[in-house]
């Protein structure tokens, strides 16, 4: 009789173990795609429109962020960056500082394209400098240095961000991933590593 009870308990244990392997196996398979999803996370400058009034440049940059992998669990926490306007012929760069903060938070599911629209008002002294480039017959291009701060399953232990540089004159531009950083902190200070 006691053997029957023990057999029953063994069956229960095996059932729990097999269920755990199935569920844990799916999580592990998803985890294996985590680092490649960071490496392959695409930031695209879909379109850039701008106009000048002689003193300032108004522009609208449309970006998309695409996770081309099957990894589930990436979330965009912050879209931040700086931009310059550069004279293509003169190679003179006019720094404008931080981009306006965009409402872009949300999940980056597999194959999903998150759209981020950034309205830019490039005025002030730098606006005049950029207009000077135009008046001198130079062509201008926008250079965006963007950090995507991501929320991942590692949030409790570290932060993850991806850095990109995007350039565009008007219409679609090009973006390149510069680095992916996994930042860890400890009592003694901070550390980081590029993936």
């Amino acid at each position: 009789m006691s053997l029957d009870k023990r057999d029953l308990l063994t069956v229960m244990l095996v059932t729990i173990a097999v269920s755990s392997v199935v569920i844990g196996g799916a999580s592990t398979a998803n985890y294996f795609q985590f680092y490649s999803s960071l490496q392959q996370l695409q930031l695209n400058l879909v379109s850039l429109q701008w106009q000048t009034n002689g003193t300032a440049i108004d522009a609208l940059a449309n970006f998309t962020i695409v996770n081309p992998t099957g990894y589930v669990g990436l979330n965009l926490k912050l879209f931040q960056g700086i931009f310059d306007i550069r004279g293509i012929n003169s190679n003179v760069s006019v720094p404008f500082g931080a981009l306006p903060l965009a409402e872009a938070q949300g999940p980056l599911g597999p194959g999903f394209a998150r759209i981020v629209k950034i309205p830019i008002d490039a005025g002030g002294r730098q606006g005049l400098q950029a207009n000077e480039l135009l008046q001198n017959g130079d062509q201008i291009e926008f250079v965006f240095s963007i950090d995507l701060v991501l929320s991942t399953f590692l949030d409790k232990a570290s932060g993850v961000s991806a850095a990109y540089e995007c350039t565009g004159t008007s219409g679609p531009g090009t973006c390149e991933q510069l680095s992916v950083a996994v930042l860890t902190s400890s009592e003694g200070g901070g550390g980081g590593g590029g993936v």
Binding site: I23, G24, T28, Y31, F34, V195
Partner: protein, 111 residues
């Protein structure tokens, strides 16, 4: 045990209450089946050691391909060591040990 830990740390880096209950059930059942305190203790220590080593190996497996910077491997090595250690030690480790012992006592008495 390894895969219960895997689905926890590979999704959120810590054990939830449900994970601890499932691990507790596994330890309790295993303890009951072992029918002996010494064997239950040894089985628990062995299973936990294998589970943690396997968990760490699986966590570092993506870096074995060599497609990531060496600095990244070093940082992730330290990070995963810390994640796995803090998710299990000391509270959960001791609690599950006690549950295994209770299971073996229960098994000795009722089976």
């Amino acid at each position: 045990m390894s895969f219960v830990l895997a689905q926890a740390v590979y999704q959120r880096t810590f054990l939830s209450a449900v994970d601890i209950v499932v691990l507790g059930a596994i330890c309790f059942l295993a303890g009951m089946i072992s029918l002996d305190l010494g064997r239950a203790l040894l089985s628990y220590l062995g299973a936990m050691s294998i589970a943690l080593v396997l968990l760490f190996i699986l966590a570092m497996l993506p870096f074995a391909t060599g497609s990531y910077a060496p600095e990244a491997s070093t940082v992730m090595f330290q990070l995963w060591l810390s994640i796995i250690f803090t998710s299990v030690f000391p509270f959960n480790f001791i609690m599950l040990l006690v549950v295994s012992v209770l299971g073996s006592g229960f098994g000795e008495k009722y089976l």
